[in-house]
């Protein structure tokens, strides 16, 4: 009997273990086959991390190699309010807020409100200066920590702000070089898949698959920091002295169209873009148009000379005004000059004389030359947000337009367009496409920008004649205030009325400008200065010329250009 019971027990036990073994085997087989993928992914998720590796944004340098913009990792302060506790478990939010407030220049209540907002994790302040981050780290506060974030830095402050543009918080280039070359500067992010231990350290024996990030290209600009600084300093000074609404300066190398400096007022500090107004963000040298006034007479006369319809000595009888299309167009203050040559039209800046020259040329040719000089179309400069200006189609010209456009009213240009046109006169008649990026450097080496000669606008003879006439304008004419000791200067002043929204002109407000190049023989730089609504009004060209002189003096001295006059 006992043996029978024992045998039964053994059978039951055997059956139990058999079933248990079968169940376990089945479960094991399930996890090894059907559930394997799920199990594997859950295990992988625990130890593997797959991260995007940010590419380093390229450095922007001036033509001498000085850093204009670069990126560095800065510490951002974050907080986890739930972890703000001392060793005894007491809440330390108030103490943390009180400790951080004076360092961050913030009120403790504001920080405390942020900690009490209910957020589990929040940024307290992003991209802190290194000293500030170090001071906070030294406090050893609980519940706060640092995370590295890239920050675009501009070591020269506001100098070159409009040329450079800026980078938004999400890493996108905006305006200027940062905007137009964003793809090249940004680079390509990589990926890093690694196994990590519970302390988030990479395991040497684990999975490691990396696609390296491709850093952004470095850009070397044509801009010269010293000239740029001089241009911005002088522009800020003259805008303040003249209580002008704004202004712009362009400095070009006439030999190839390289932009040496480009200043715009009002301006902004790239480090504080958030507080800048929209107008300050606009680069007036390329994104703002104005009626050029008498600076355009040089273009009208160059066209007429090139076409052969006048010579410098061609004369007419000036009566103080000209009648065209049934409208009377006067000289400045309706002054009567009597017998006048074409050279004198330029040196005295006579409106009636410009109308005389334009009448000889004809509307079709004037329109064609304006387009040839690059007006009415974007110059193609490699900067974001360039505007084209307005030269109306010939079919839309009224008879009077031939007269007004001859002395720079009735069309609009950008300061850069005017500088390019003067560069064409200065270099012997070839219009170059202005450019800002001299070279791009990546892992493959340096890629230089080749200057682009757009077209020949006027003949070399015409250009030489124009240089002589413009030099006379400075030496003995209306632009005498732009004369520089030791250097020959060629240039022309401009005073233009400002069109209003109702199609008429604004009363008693002008745009004053000066466009010139130096030395007149073998020119090294074209400088255009434009002031919007200077308080000197009709005499606003004088501060414009003084600004030209100041920049030219600095730039010539800096570039060690030998004087060409005793």
């Amino acid at each position: 009997m006992t043996a029978t019971i024992s045998h039964t027990r053994l059978r039951v036990l055997f059956a139990f273990f058999t079933v248990a073994s079968l169940l376990l085997s089945a479960r094991l087989a399930y996890w090894q086959t059907v559930g394997r993928g799920d199990l594997l992914s859950r295990a992988t998720d625990q130890v593997h991390s797959d991260l995007a590796v940010a590419a380093q944004r390229g450095i922007i340098r001036d033509r001498t190699g000085a850093i204009l913009a670069t990126t560095v990792e800065l510490r951002s302060l974050y907080a986890i309010p739930a972890q703000m506790k001392d060793s005894e478990g007491h809440d330390t939010r108030f103490a943390v807020a009180a400790a951080l407030a004076p360092i961050l220049g913030e009120r403790p209540e504001v920080l405390r409100a942020a900690f009490d907002s209910g957020a589990e994790w929040l940024f307290v302040r992003r991209r802190l200066p290194e000293e500030t981050a170090a001071r906070i780290a030294a406090l050893g506060l609980s519940g706060v920590g640092f995370e590295m974030e890239p920050k675009r830095l501009y070591p020269n402050g506001a100098v070159g702000a409009q040329v450079l543009g800026f980078v938004s918080d999400d890493g996108l280039g905006q305006y200027g070089v940062e905007g137009s070359y964003d793809d090249a500067l940004a680079g390509t992010p990589g990926r890093l898949a690694v196994s990590r231990d519970p302390a988030n350290r990479e395991l040497a024996l684990g999975l490691r698959a990396a696609v390296p990030a491709k850093n952004g290209d470095d850009l070397w600009l044509t801009v010269d920091l010293a000239v740029q600084n001089a241009a911005e300093r002088e522009l800020a000074a003259v805008v303040e002295r003249e209580k002008a609404a704004g202004g712009a300066i362009v400095v070009l190398d006439p030999k190839d169209g390289a932009v040496l400096a480009m200043a715009s007022s009002p301006t902004y500090d790239p480090a504080r873009v958030g507080s800048a107004n929209t107008e300050a963000l606009r680069n007036r040298a390329i994104s703002w148009t104005y009626e050029p006034g008498s600076t355009l007479k040089a273009v009208t006369i160059a066209a007429a000379l090139d076409k052969g319809v006048v010579t410098p000595s061609t004369s007419y009888q000036d009566v103080g005004y000209a009648v065209i299309g049934g409208r009377t167009l006067c000289n400045a203050q309706c002054k009567v000059y009597g017998p006048t040559t074409v050279t004198q039209v330029l040196t005295r800046s006579q409106n009636a004389g410009a109308v005389f020259v334009a009448s000889k040329l004809g509307a079709a040719d004037l329109n064609a030359y304006l387009h040839a000089f690059g007006f009415g179309a974007r110059t193609g400069v490699d900067l974001a947000a360039e505007t084209a200006g307005i030269v109306r189609p010939l079919a839309e010209w009224y008879p009077v337009d031939l007269g007004t456009i001859s002395f720079g009213q009735g069309l609009s240009v950008t300061p850069l367009q005017l500088a390019s046109a003067y560069a064409a006169i200065a270099n012997g008649g070839i219009l170059y496409r202005p450019y800002v990026v001299a070279s791009r450097r990546d892992a493959d080496g340096e890629h230089r920008t080749a200057p682009v000669a757009v077209r020949r606008v006027i003949s070399e003879e015409t250009a030489a004649t124009m240089v002589t006439m413009l030099t006379t304008t400075v030496d003995n004419g209306i632009a005498n205030a732009a004369a520089l000791k030791g250097y020959s200067v060629a240039g022309k002043t401009g005073t233009a009325q400002i069109p209003s929204d109702d199609g008429r002109y604004v009363d008693d407000a002008y745009i004053s400008s000066f466009a010139g190049f130096v030395p007149a023989i073998d020119p090294r730089m074209v400088i255009v200065v434009v002031l919007e609504k200077p308080q000197s009004k009709l005499l606003g060209t004088v501060p414009a010329m003084n600004t030209f002189k100041a920049i030219a003096t600095d730039a010539l001295r800096y570039a060690r250009i030998q004087p060409d006059r005793p």
Binding site: A66, I67, T70, V72, E73, E130, L153, P155, N156, G157, V159, R201, E202, L203, A204, L205, L225, A226, N229, A230, E232, R233, G486, R557, Q562, P563
Partner: protein, 135 residues
């Protein structure tokens, strides 16, 4: 001496090549003893062989673990050095930026004004051709 030779050595000592008279006189009991001895030596050999295999396996595992630990530790060290390198690079970048800020013409001008320096009114330029001709 090899491991097999070491295992055979005791048997060699217990089995002399020239048997004495007593051994010849008591032939059968001596044969049983020899059989027992042979069985015993086989057990010892097996034990030693198994022990040797186990010890070898243990040593191999230890070696592997030591290697794995060393690689892992080296990995942590490499990671620490990489982090240190990155931090040094960051500090270097900050210093380069500070240097650029100090070199900025705008800052130099401001500093010059603060020190009471004034811009030179005139700069004398000497033509190189004239100097060369004079020599």
């Amino acid at each position: 001496m090899t491991f097999a030779q070491a295992v055979r050595a005791p048997q060699a000592r217990r089995m002399p090549h020239r048997p004495n008279r007593q051994a010849i006189a008591h032939r059968r009991p001596a044969s049983r003893q020899a059989t027992r001895l042979r069985a015993a030596s086989w057990e010892i050999r097996s034990f030693l062989l198994a022990s040797g295999v186990i010890v070898a396996c243990f040593l191999l595992v230890l070696l592997y673990l030591a290697q794995a630990t060393a690689v892992s530790a080296a990995g942590y060290e490499a990671q620490r050095l990489l982090a240190q390198r990155d931090e040094l690079r960051r500090q270097n970048a900050l210093l380069v930026i500070e240097s650029a800020r100090l070199d900025s013409p705008a800052r130099v001008e401001t500093e010059a004004q603060r020190l009471g320096l004034v811009r030179a009114a005139t700069i004398r330029v000497v033509a190189s051709e004239a100097v060369a001709a004079a020599r």
